[in-house]
Every structure is written in C-alpha cells, then in structure tokens.
C-alpha cells in the first residue's frame, strides 16, 4: 500500500541532502494538512529560510544557546558503567545538563526567535512528558510571549511536577480529555488551536515531526548535538564512535545526534534508535512504530504509524510519556527503510532497570525516555570490546521521580 503516494527512495549517501523542496525525506514527510493551514505553513517555511541566512538570527540563537541554555554540553565518559559491562567504552552526550533538563530547549529557542521575527505574540505547544512544554514555557517567559500548552490528562497525572513547572513559568496548561488522553490527542488539540488563532499564534512543535517545514526545522535546531559530539569524541578518542545510540519518540534528539554522521559509512559509524517496547509486542501495549507500524498519514506527515487495518490510529503505551506516540519523524522512516539506522526497542522494565544502573554507577539519573537508550547500551556493550559508543542522554530524570519511586520501590 501507499507506495504510489510518493516520489523516490533514497540511496547511498544522499541522506544529508534530504528533504526535497516539498519536505519529502525519500518516500516520507511532505505536507498533509487542511487547506487552512497550508499557506501559514508556507509562510513559516519562508520565514525560517530567511532566518537561516540571516547572521543576526544565528548570532542571537548561538548567544542564547551558550549564555542561557548552557551549550556546549559536555561529553562524559561513563567509566564505571563501561567497566561494569566489560566491553565498549560508553560516552554520554549530556543534554540532561541543559537548562530545563533536556535537549528540547535547543529547538524552543530557535523557534521562539523565529516566532518573534514573524510578529506572533502567542506560543502554543503540545507536550507528552512535559519536557517540551516546560522548554516552551521557559522561552515564552524569557522572550515575553503568551503561552498555552496542551497536555493529555493521563500525561498530566504522570508528569504532575512538570505541569506545575509550566504554570510557575506563567504558561496556561490545558488538559486534553479525548481518546487515550496522551500526546496524540494533545497534538490534535494544538493543531485545532492553531487553525483557529492563526493571526497571532505560533505553533511551536516539539519534535522532528508534523507537516513540512517542522521536521526539517527541528532537525536543524537539534543538529548541534551531533556537531558538538563529533568534535568532542575526536578530542577524547582521536576517532569517530563505532556506535551512536538515542531513544526515539518523535525522534528529535536522535536525528539531532545522527544527522552529523549520516554521510559516514555505516561500517564505520553505526546508529541505533531505541523505541518504547512498553509492556509487550501486542498493538496498544507499546510505541514501537518500526516493530508493528506501517506507513500512513498522521498529524501532517507521511511516516510509520501504529494503526489498525482500517487506518485508525492505535493507542500506545510506554512508561515514558515522551516516547508514547503512534508515529515517528519522517526522516527516521527513511533511515529505517534504507537500513542506515537500526531501530530496536527497550521495554518499560528494561528502561527502569537501566535508569537504576546509570544512577548508581555514574551518579546520573536519566529521564525515562533516555533510559531506553541506556538499556540498549547495557544490552550491547558486553560484546563491544574495544569499541566506542556515543549515547545521547537527552534528558534528566527529575520529572520522573514519582514514577521511579512507585516502580522501583527502593
């Protein structure tokens, strides 16, 4: 199915040249939106492209990234974890050390500056775990925007602390009560707000997903992760890493790390994205789009989607709200089909165990999202003697304390 909707598959080393002008990453991506949103998306694209070529924009962004958010983030050798596993040397790219506690701030600063250039006074965003919501509320406070965050009721309950953080930062948090009351419904509700309030409102989408130009724009604002990592690993090891690891919800931290290395030979720099394996492989029990999903259109883009045989979007489950979503960034779908990136899964319990391991061996408490990538490193490292792994530790676990306390019973 669906093969006819499209242009061409991507081969070889073309990966870094994607997307095309219509926002297609090979077969995937594009702009599937109601007509009312099409011209606003065109305006967004042209404002973004204009900002890209404006040195003043780049300068202001770099200034905020370094003086406000805390870039560059360090690359930490996880010595005790590596010794414990007895194989690969594992480095952690410390996005958890950024202001607001995750990589999300990179994208929020970029898009908020863009919103200001476009003359918008109001930022709206969806959030799953609350990390993107907190980062959006933060930049709204910093730059003086009105801010509304849509969050599924279920996610509000499990990430209660982040809800309060957003409110403390001056944002309005609107509970979304439809469907599974998680990220999927929060995105739908944010799109409805946007289409109703186009005049003064900027939709600050939080991951490399949605209609063009969002997947491109978010990747570009996140690729600093990979650019810094390359330089830092060369300084530390004198060579490139053998394996990159990152968790994949929408996939913005992963693509931010991977993009810089896509032109490298896969034999030289392998990559693995880790999806949420949840409670099991049955539809509805996980959020592993590449293990049970198929291509479809959700929220403006063509990508792998967890859906039933009638094209209805499936419910998903993950202990980590940030990975709990039925689709995935279109660039990842291209990379999956091509085999350039391998996509695996970690279950809820593997992620919890990895969270405890990293906390106790390194004194670093990862977000449950990032703990999925740690779980994959734990699985692989013993057979990786002599190899160098570079893992994007996309966020810290402060927001997850209530879940961790309940689940780990220490």
């Amino acid at each position: 199915m669906a093969k006819h909707s499209i242009n061409k598959a991507v081969k070889g080393t073309d990966f870094q040249d994607q997307p095309d002008q219509g926002g297609h990453f090979g077969l995937y991506g594009g702009r599937y939106a109601p007509e009312t949103l099409m011209h606003p998306l065109e305006e967004l694209e042209s404002a973004y492209l204009k900002a890209c070529s404006d040195p003043a924009f780049q300068q202001e962004l770099e200034h905020l990234l370094s003086r406000y958010a805390g870039r560059p983030t360090p690359l930490t050798l996880a010595s005790r974890l590596s010794d414990h596993l007895g194989g690969a040397r594992i480095y952690l790219k410390r996005e958890d050390l950024l202001h607001t506690g995750a990589h999300k701030i990179n994208n929020c600063l970029g898009q908020a500056l863009l919103a200001r250039r476009m003359g918008k006074g109001r930022l709206i965003a969806e959030t799953g775990a609350g990390q993107h919501g907190v980062a959006t509320a933060t930049v709204a406070a910093l730059l003086g925007f009105q801010c509304v965050i849509y969050m599924g009721e279920e996610d509000m309950a499990r990430q209660r602390l982040n809800v309060f953080r957003m409110r403390l930062l001056g944002a309005e948090v609107v509970p979304v009560k439809a469907g599974s009351r998680t990220l999927k419904e929060a995105i739908s509700e944010t799109m409805r707000d946007w289409v109703t309030n186009l005049e003064n409102t900027y939709y600050l989408l939080g991951t490399a997903f949605g209609p063009h130009p969002y997947p491109l724009m978010v990747r570009e604002f996140q690729k600093v992760i990979g650019e810094e990592s390359r330089q830092q690993i060369l300084e530390a090891e004198g060579r490139l890493p053998d394996l990159l690891l990152a968790c994949v919800g929408g996939g913005s931290n992963a693509i931010g790390l991977f993009h810089e290395f896509l032109a490298e030979d896969a034999e030289k720099v392998a990559m693995v994205g880790v999806e949420a394996g949840g409670r099991g492989s049955q539809l509805g029990q996980h959020a592993a789009r590449f293990h049970g999903g198929s291509p479809g259109v959700l929220h403006g883009t063509f990508s792998y989607v967890l859906q039933d045989e009638m094209g209805q979007i499936s419910a998903t489950h993950s202990i980590s709200a940030g990975l709990d979503y039925a689709s995935v960034g279109p660039e990842h779908s291209m990379l999956f089909d091509s085999g350039r990136v391998e996509y695996t899964t970690a279950t809820d319990s593997e992620a919890l165990e990895a969270c405890r391991t990293l906390s106790q061996l390194e004194g670093i408490i990862p977000a449950l999202e990032s703990a999925h990538a740690v779980a994959e490193a734990v699985r692989r490292a013993p057979s990786g003697k002599g190899q160098v792994y570079l893992l994007c530790l996309s966020g810290r676990g402060d927001k997850d304390m209530e879940i961790l306390e309940r689940e780990l019973r220490l």
């Binding site: 909707s5 702009r31 939106a33 979007i313």
Partner: protein, 254 residues
C-alpha cells in the same frame, strides 16, 4: 458522520434528508484523530467508531442507499483510512457502490496527484477545500484539481455551528469566482436559515455539518425525523431567494 448512531440509521437518514430537499449528502468517514473538527463532529466520529463504522461498511451502506435514492453522495474523510484502503481500490469500490465523489480533509493539493488520478480513472468527483487563508495562487490550484464543486471554508478554524456568519466568507467566494467557473459550496459555522438567505446570492450551495449533527446528538433515540425536519427548517432560508440547486452541477452525473 456515517455510523452515528449506527450504519442502518445513517442510511435511513440520508434518504429522509434527500426527501427533505437536501441536494447533496456528505457522508463522513470517522477517523480517530479529527484535527480539523470541533467538539460536535469529534463526538459524532467517536460514536460512529464505537458503532463499528469503517470504510468498507460505509461503502456497503452507499450501495443500500442507492436502492432507494439517487441523491448525490460525497464521501468525506481524513486521508489515512483512504490511504490504508488504497487509492485504486477506494476509487473502484466507491464508483461501484454508487458514490459520486470524495473530499479528503487533510490531503493538500501538493500531495494529491496519485489520489486524483485514481479518482479520474473512475470518473469520480474530487472536491477540494479553499480557505480564507489560501492565496490566489493556491485557489487556482484548488480549482484545477476540483471537479463537481469547490468547497469554500467560511472561517479559519475547526468545524462547528455559529450564530453569526463569518465575514471571511464573502471575500473568499469572490476570489473563488474569479478563479473558477465551477459551482461553489460554502460551509463552516452555518446553522440557521438566515445564513442560507445571506449566502444564496454568493454561493451555489451551502454545507451544514455540525448544526445537523448536533440535532442528531440531541435526538439519539429517534434522530431521523428530527434531522429531516431540521433540514427542512434550514431550507426555508432559500425561499426568499431564487436558488439554482447545486445538483445541476457535474457532481450529479451518476
């Protein structure tokens, strides 16, 4: 939404609406993520999904309706259920069932090529949406890909009945007239006979969705006569104007 409250009732309702003087019936295919819809249509879609409605059953229902009524039928869907079904199969089965065309809410003209060519092969109409935010260039493209009529969105926003007509409707209809000779239908926010009176000189058809579904929702036990009465009440709005019914348009070629 087709299947709200159930498929059999929808079929009866379509026939009753045709008898009440409705020129074209849009049959909504329910989708789990209705991003362009307000609360009334969202709830209707949820009820339809719970009743087990899906594209194959809706196409079968179209066949059943065709035994009783020649009223033009337009399938109205988000893209994913149709994509999953397959464009080629969708077009073939839709024409075999007796449907006249389709409108896909979240299929932009940019991405519509493969869908439109399958629909053309079967001689089905493809209606596209035009919005107040559409540039003249976009309106031209929307008109080029549309057959039957063009659907003008009266206000930027989600579907939903409003007391007042949007001021954006008239200028959009004016720009569309300059872009195409196709008939124009206008929808979003239309809920009263006065709205029809006001729009009759500007458009060839008026689309009423949420207001009708709200009537259905308020009479879940016995919706058919109430919905038909509501349609008759709305049509009063046309009595004060000379009205050229839209079903003279190419969509009524079946």
């Amino acid at each position: 939404m087709a299947g709200d409250p159930d498929i059999a009732t929808t079929a009866k309702m379509v026939v009753a609406l045709a008898q009440a003087g409705v020129d074209i019936v849009e049959l909504g295919v329910p989708f789990s993520e209705p991003i362009a819809d307000g609360p009334v249509i969202q709830r209707s879609g949820e009820r339809a999904l719970r009743s087990g409605a899906n594209l194959p059953r809706i196409l079968q229902m179209v066949r059943d309706i065709r035994q009783e009524s020649p009223v033009p039928l337009l399938l109205f869907s988000y893209l994913n259920p149709v994509l999953r079904y397959g464009f080629e199969r969708f077009a073939a089965d839709a024409v075999a069932s007796g449907a006249d065309g389709a409108l896909i809410t979240d299929l932009s003209v940019e991405e519509a090529g493969p869908y439109v060519s399958q629909m053309r092969r079967q001689g089905l109409d493809t209606v596209f949406l035009a919005a107040p935010t559409s540039t003249d260039q976009r309106l031209k493209r929307v008109a080029e890909l549309s057959t039957g009529f063009v659907y003008a969105i009266a206000r930027a926003g989600v579907t939903g009945a409003r007391e007042q007509l949007s001021a954006a409707a008239a200028p959009l209809l004016g720009r569309l007239r300059a872009a195409t000779s196709l008939p124009l239908a206008v929808g979003f926010g239309i809920s009263r006979p006065e709205h029809l009176t006001e729009l009759a000189p500007l458009a060839d058809g008026v689309v009423v969705g949420s207001a009708l579904v709200r009537c259905l929702e308020e009479h879940q036990q016995d919706p058919v006569p109430h919905v038909a009465d509501f349609a008759r009440w709305l049509r009063e709005g046309f009595k004060t104007q000379r009205h050229e019914p839209i079903h003279k348009s190419p969509i009524h070629k079946s």
